[in-house]
Symmetry: C2
């Protein structure tokens, strides 16, 4: 379960209500006309889970594998990483997922050195099928592990890409198993497609619960049971000049990768030239509590009033470690927390920080998860995807393209040609 | 060696020159009057290196230890982590450094499970001596490992704190080895004091080279050989309304912790109420290339023109992994990069991205490191500390305090009392 609390200082008026009503209708249209296909992935991807489960069932090789290597970058890795990091604490025997993303030699060398070819499934993911970083790393994997993709090693390779892309054709040509990404699902909205579902199911996570969580959020939204989303989007976009930044303050280390996923989703979707030719957008910033109370909080509290802050917290922790009731000589002042759990401490830090920020008149909202599991992460992902689509509509932009990154790609190709 | 390139679109005029001259004088005063002591840590901390080296020499226990646990948060961990992550790739036999920072049960449990008491040095760091997260985690360590701090285990504990703090008194009372942080060096400026030097020297890193690098930067700056720093500060502060954010785009995974250190230094130092009662500050944002080209770049390129971008890149890589000259059927379009090293690819990505951003009229600057080693990281740290002090002076604020975080701490204490 997720609980929401919006603490925004604003006057909603009739125009706001009209805007919300109209935006809701536009999103319903977008879903019905399949402008973007992510809305229904919670349901559409269930057969992929079954297919992967069947594949595991029938393959001794996969069963004895202990590592799933994901070769992909951006939308092909961030979402999977976010889910993996958030839910792995529940499992003792999940397969390791390793992400080969950046063409960084130090990072690549360290990671490749830990891979045992005979216990590894290699998944290459690229929506366009031509991502240069991904293909280069794939070549290095082929060379280093003498990966016979055309012959005896093809059973340990999976390709995930758009139907008919160059990578699709390559995989089909050699009989490598291929999963398609729906054409109408962009990279940063694709985590609940095969992109995330295949590696996460192979690793052993409960991807059905993940998808069901997402479906529930999507269905509730379209049944007008999640109006807080419309309000939040209306507030964020109405005040975009005054508050150009949103800080996601998550109170759990394992949500750090989730904040990175949010940064991509929010930044790449909403940073656009609008239909009037204006540069618009909202800047996403991710932080982790309580660590970053000792870093970024001072700026929120006393710096320019240019940020909204979203707190993400856990309400019901699985583990319970009590702070020992030890009193250290001269350090007795810290004894007030003795006997409470660390979770109560971190939750107290979140609440205290939120209150101190609210006292400054800063606009905050909170999302509380009752547990950190697949179902709630599925809901949270759909929550943020919906929120992004709503903001995009209110900003009059195309939420789903990313024309701004093309120029750098062209310059890169020229440099090496 | 570090190379700098400022690509700012602005008209420097006489006022700018006067501002730079005056600010330089103020910083010279600050150094001479010891308002902040970080300027000379490059030299002042050399005896700490010798002390720790002597300690290692004389202690078989330390020699056989394989892990250094740092219990600390914020200024007590971020800088050490930044250096550790940046330079560890050079060493095969350095001791592991583990950071216990956040009172997060999942993270704590996972880390504590990997510690072998008989091969570990525990360093507790708190400038104030009363940080509640740090003391609570220290208590957990004491309880879990039956750490006899008053008796036979005291030789494996080190305290680093202000002279006469509660932690200092505790350590002195039990004869635990203590290193002091200079009173005039704030937490986020303290990495080159005992805070960073003790754990990094114990781990086996070349901390003399680190300190010498820092000294060189500081001396050059005060000898007016690094005027680009004054220009950058003048530009960033003059255009703070127009460009309230600075994005650090580092093209190496192992610089990610450096960007986090920068975020604390910049955010906590510059987010302040100025002498006219205005909320001022510049918002620091950290990103890693080329990964975040697939995430944040679109927003920089097409979103609001509210950011400056600083590129950090490496010019001379140690490792050389060539992208294999493999041509994959249907994927031949990516062959243009075959035979180049991954480092050339990532460097090309950095250059191409920078050019594409400059073409939008966005202000960028670049810091190029010829190698990723202690000397250059020492320079880079001092560079950023000096830049922060210069900006603080130009913003008419107290760069070294952090009054905004107190309210949350008070609310927290009330919650548990």
């Amino acid at each position: 379960m997720l609980n929401y609390e919006n603490d925004f200082n604003w006057d909603k008026n009739e125009t706001t209500q009209t805007l919300m009503d109209e935006t809701y209708k536009k999103i319903v249209d977008e879903k019905e006309n399949k402008v973007s296909g992510y809305y229904t992935l919670g349901e559409d991807s269930l057969p992929i889970v079954d297919a992967v489960l069947a594949q595991i069932e029938s393959s001794e090789f996969i069963q004895k594998c202990d590592t799933v290597v994901v070769i992909g970058i951006g939308g092909s890795s961030l979402g999977t990483k976010a889910i993996h990091s958030s839910v792995k604490h529940q499992y003792e025997n999940a397969k390791r997922i390793m992400f080969l993303e950046n063409p960084d030699e130090i990072d690549l060398s360290e990671k490749l050195a830990t891979i045992k070819k005979e216990k590894t499934i290699f998944i290459i993911i690229s929506k366009s099928g031509s991502t240069v970083e991904t293909l280069s790393i794939f070549k290095e994997v082929i060379a280093r592990f003498s990966l016979d993709y055309a012959g005896k090693n093809k059973k340990q390779i999976i390709a995930i890409t758009d139907f008919d892309s160059a990578l699709y054709k390559f995989a089909q040509h050699y009989g490598i198993q291929t999963y398609n990404i729906p054409k109408n699902v962009g990279g940063r909205f694709s985590v609940l497609s095969a992109v995330g579902i295949v590696p996460l199911t192979l690793a052993g996570y409960d991807t059905k619960a993940l998808l069901n969580g997402a479906s529930m959020m999507s269905e509730n939204f379209f049944a007008l049971k999640e109006k807080h989303l419309l309000e939040k989007a209306a507030f964020f976009t109405a005040y975009k000049e005054q508050y150009p930044m949103n800080v996601m303050f998550s109170y759990a280390n394992c949500l750090e990768d989730f904040t990175k996923w949010y940064v991509q989703l929010w930044g790449e979707s909403l940073g656009k030239i609008d239909k009037e030719g204006e540069n618009v957008g909202l800047t996403p910033i991710g932080h982790i509590g309580s660590v970053d109370q000792h870093s970024f909080l001072q700026l929120i509290m006393e710096g320019p009033r240019d940020k909204t802050v979203t707190f993400i917290k856990l309400e019901n922790f699985e583990k319970k470690i009590k702070i020992p009731t030890i009193s250290l000589k001269f350090l007795e002042k810290a004894d007030y927390i003795n006997g409470y759990t660390f979770n109560e401490l971190i939750d107290g830090e979140c609440e205290a920080t939120k209150e101190s920020i609210i006292q400054q008149g800063i606009n905050v909202d909170e999302i509380a998860l009752d547990k950190l599991n697949e179902s709630n992460i599925g809901k949270l992902i759909m929550y943020y995807e919906l929120l992004t689509s709503l903001c995009g509509k209110m900003l009059h932009i195309d939420t789903y393209n990313q024309p701004g990154v093309e120029l750098g790609k062209q310059i890169l190709v020229k440099k090496f040609n």
